[in-house]
C-alpha cells in the first residue's frame, strides 16, 4: 500500500491496573499474598489502515481486540506509543481538528443494548450527534434520520420507539445508523454481527460492503467469526495476548498460515462442507494476561516451541508479499515451519 495511512498505531500499548476487589482485599487482610495487577491488554502494536481498506482483527477472547479498537477509534487513550490520524498524532490535535478526527472515526459496539440509552427514542439516538455537530438542522432532522434508517433496513415509521421495542438485529442496526449519521471515514466494528442469525448477519454485511463502495468507508472489523472475516476483509491481523502475531491477505493467511497460532485457529474453523467429527483443540490453557509467558507468549501451547522461544520476543517480520509473522521459526530452516504439515502434540 502506498501513501499515508488513514490511521496508524505506532508502538501502541494499553495497560490496565486491576485494583483488588473486595474479596481479595479481605483475603489480603488475612495474609494472602495479593497485590494490584497490571494487564498488558495491548503490547507495542503497530498497525496501519489505509483509506478504503477493510482490515479484520481476530484472536482469542481477551487478547486485546476491543481495547486496540477503542484506542484506534480515539475513545480510549493509549498508555504508550501513538495513534496517527492522516499522519498527525491524534493526541496532539486541538480544537476543530480534534473534533473533526473524533467524528471521522466511529465505533459500533459489540452489545448494542449497553450503548443505546433506553430512555431515548431512536430518532434522538441516531440524530443527536449530527444535530450537535451541525451536520443537519433541526427542521431537517427527521428526514435525515429516516433516510439513514431506510439505508440500514429499519422501518422509518419506528423512529419514535424506544430501543427495547426492537429485536437484537434491529438494535444492532440502530447502532450502525448512529455511527453512520456523522458521516465517518473509519468505522471500528466490534463483533457487530456475532449475535445475529445468518440471514440478518448477511443483510448487515451487505450494507457494510455497499457503504464502502458508495462512500469509500474504511473498516477495522473485529470478529471471532473467521468465515465472515475471510469474506469481507482485504487484510487480516491476528492477535495473541496483546500482540500482533501474523498479518496477511485472507487468501494467503487462510491457505498458507505461517504462525503456529494462526494455523491452530484456522484448523478449528467449523464448516458445513467439511464435516469434521473430531475436534483437535489447541493444547493447553489460555495463559493469564496477568502473568503472560516470557518470550513468545504462545510458547506454552506451541507444538514447535524451542529454547529461544522462552527467552526472546519474536518480532513481526515479512514472510512473503503482504504477509508477516512474529515467530522464531522464521529464522530456522525447520521443515515443520516450511511445509505446514506439522503434527499436533497431543
Amino acid at each position: 500500500m502506498m501513501g499515508t495511512p488513514l490511521i496508524e498505531a505506532k508502538n501502541v500499548s494499553r495497560r490496565f491496573s486491576r485494583k483488588l476487589d473486595y474479596a481479595e482485599k479481605i483475603a489480603r487482610a488475612f495474609g494472602a499474598n495479593l497485590s494490584e495487577k497490571t494487564v498488558h491488554a495491548v503490547d507495542e502494536v503497530n498497525l496501519a489502515v489505509h483509506s478504503g481498506e477493510v482490515v479484520g482483527l481476530v484472536g482469542e477472547s481477551g487478547c486485546g481486540k476491543s481495547t486496540l479498537g477503542r484506542v484506534m477509534a480515539g475513545i480510549m487513550p493509549a498508555s504508550g506509543g501513538e495513534v496517527r490520524w492522516k499522519g498527525r498524532e491524534l493526541a496532539g490535535l486541538k480544537g476543530p481538528d480534534k473534533r473533526q478526527a473524533r467524528l471521522a472515526a466511529q465505533m459500533i459496539f459489540q452489545d448494542p443494548m449497553s450503548t443505546l440509552n433506553p430512555r431515548k427514542r431512536v430518532i434522538d439516538i441516531i440524530g443527536e450527534a449530527p444535530l450537535v455537530h451541525g451536520l443537519v438542522t433541526r427542521p431537517a432532522l427527521r428526514d435525515y434520520v429516516a433516510d439513514l434508517a431506510q439505508r440500514v433496513g429499519l422501518d422509518p415509521s419506528y423512529l419514535d420507539r424506544y430501543p427495547h421495542q426492537f429485536s437484537g438485529g434491529q438494535r444492532q442496526r440502530i447502532g450502525i445508523a448512529r455511527a453512520l449519521a456523522v458521516k465517518p471515514e473509519l468505522i471500528v466494528c466490534d463483533e457487530s454481527v456475532a449475535a445475529l442469525d445468518v440471514s440478518i448477519q448477511a443483510q448487515i454485511l451487505n450494507l457494510f460492503m455497499d457503504l464502502r463502495k458508495e462512500f469509500g468507508l474504511t473498516y477495522l472489523f473485529i470478529s471471532h467469526d473467521l468465515g465472515v472475516v475471510k469474506h469481507i476483509c482485504d487484510r487480516v491481523v491476528v492477535m495473541y495476548l496483546g500482540r500482533i502475531v501474523e498479518t496477511g491477505t485472507p487468501d494467503e493467511l487462510f491457505s498458507n498460515p505461517k504462525h503456529p497460532y494462526t494455523r491452530a485457529l484456522i484448523r478449528e474453523l467449523p464448516s458445513i462442507s467439511d464435516r469434521r467429527r473430531d475436534f483437535t483443540p489447541v493444547k493447553g490453557e489460555i495463559p493469564s494476561p496477568l502473568h503472560p509467558p516470557s518470550g513468545c507468549h504462545f510458547h506454552p501451547r506451541c507444538p514447535h516451541a524451542f529454547a529461544r522461544c522462552q527467552q526472546e520476543r519474536p518480532l513481526l517480520q515479512e514472510t512473503g508479499p503482504g504477509q508477516a509473522s512474529a515467530c522464531h521459526l522464521n529464522d530456522e530452516p525447520s521443515p515443520a515451519a516450511r511445509t505446514g504439515t506439522f503434527s499436533t502434540v497431543s
Partner: protein, 324 residues
Amino acid sequence: MTQPVLEVTNLSTHFPTRRGVIKAVDEVSFTVGQREIVGLVGESGSGKSITGFSVLGLVDPPGRVVSGSIRFQGEELTQLPQKAMRAIRGKRIAMIFQDPMMTLNPVLSIGTQMVEAVLAHDRVSRTEARNRARDALGMVGIPSPEERLDAYPHQFSGGMRQRVAIAIALLHRPDLIIADEPTTALDVTIQSQILYEIKRLAQEFSMALVWISHDLGVVAALADRVLVMYAGRIVEAGPVEDVLSQPAHPYTLGLMQAIPSAVPRGEPLRPIPGMAPSPLARPSGCSFRDRCQRATEICSAEPRLDILADREWRCFHPNEGRAA
C-alpha cells in the same frame, strides 16, 4: 427401536401479553434418541430457548406450557409437581445456558457451588462431594482442578467459566443435556475445545444432547440430526448431512444460502428477503409465505407435516432433490 430419551408431542408454550398471546412454541413435536445429538437451529425469536425451557419446566410466568406432552424416559413431565420436577432437573436432565453466569453465583467459590450441586441430589459426605466436583473439573480440561475449586468465577476466563458450567451439568451424569448456544460467545479455539469435550463425554456416558445454535458449521460438525425452527414451529427435521446438503424447506435453504461461504469472497451475501413475522401477527397458513420464493395460493393453508423415511418437513413445495 429402543425408547427415545425425550419425546415431545404437540408442545405449545404461550406468553399472554397486553397486546395478545405470543405463541413462542406452537405445536412442536420431536424426539431425541439415546446417545443422540440433536441440533436445534432457526431464526432469532423462533422459539428455540423457550422449547428448552419448556422441557425443564423453567418457563417464566405468565408464560406456560398450554398443551402437548413431554415424555422423558417414558415419564410425562408436563403434569409433574414442582418438587418432582426439581428432583429431575440437574440430576437426569441438565441445561447449559448461553451465559455461564446464569449457572454460577459470583460470590461463592466454584468448589462450594459444585459441592452444593452434588448434595442437592445425592446423599454423600462433603469430602465425597468435593472429590466428585474435582473430578468433573478435570474432565472438562481444567488444569489443577484441586486448587481451582477454591477460586471464584471472576478468576476464570470466559471459556473456563463456560467449562465450569458444563462440569456442573455433568456432575450427575444426566441422561439428557440441553445446551443453549453455549459456545456462541467464544472464539473458535475455545469453542472447539468445548465441542470436543462435550462430544467425548456424551459418548463416554451415553448422554443425549440437544444443542441450540445459530452456527450451522457447529451443528454440522457436532449433531446427528437437526431440527429447524421458524416462527414457533419445527419446519424441517432430519439427519444433519441430508438436511444441510439437500434442504427440503425453503427456509432451511435460505439459511444455507445466507452464510458467507455460500458465495465467492467479496460478493454480496444472500440474506432471506423480508423479516420474520411478529409473533403477534403471523400470517395464516405457512408463516414463511411472505418471504418465500416458492409460495403459491395453496400456501395460505396450513402445510401439514410430510414424512419420508427419516426426513420430515412442513411445506407444500419442498425443494427438488431432497432425500434423493
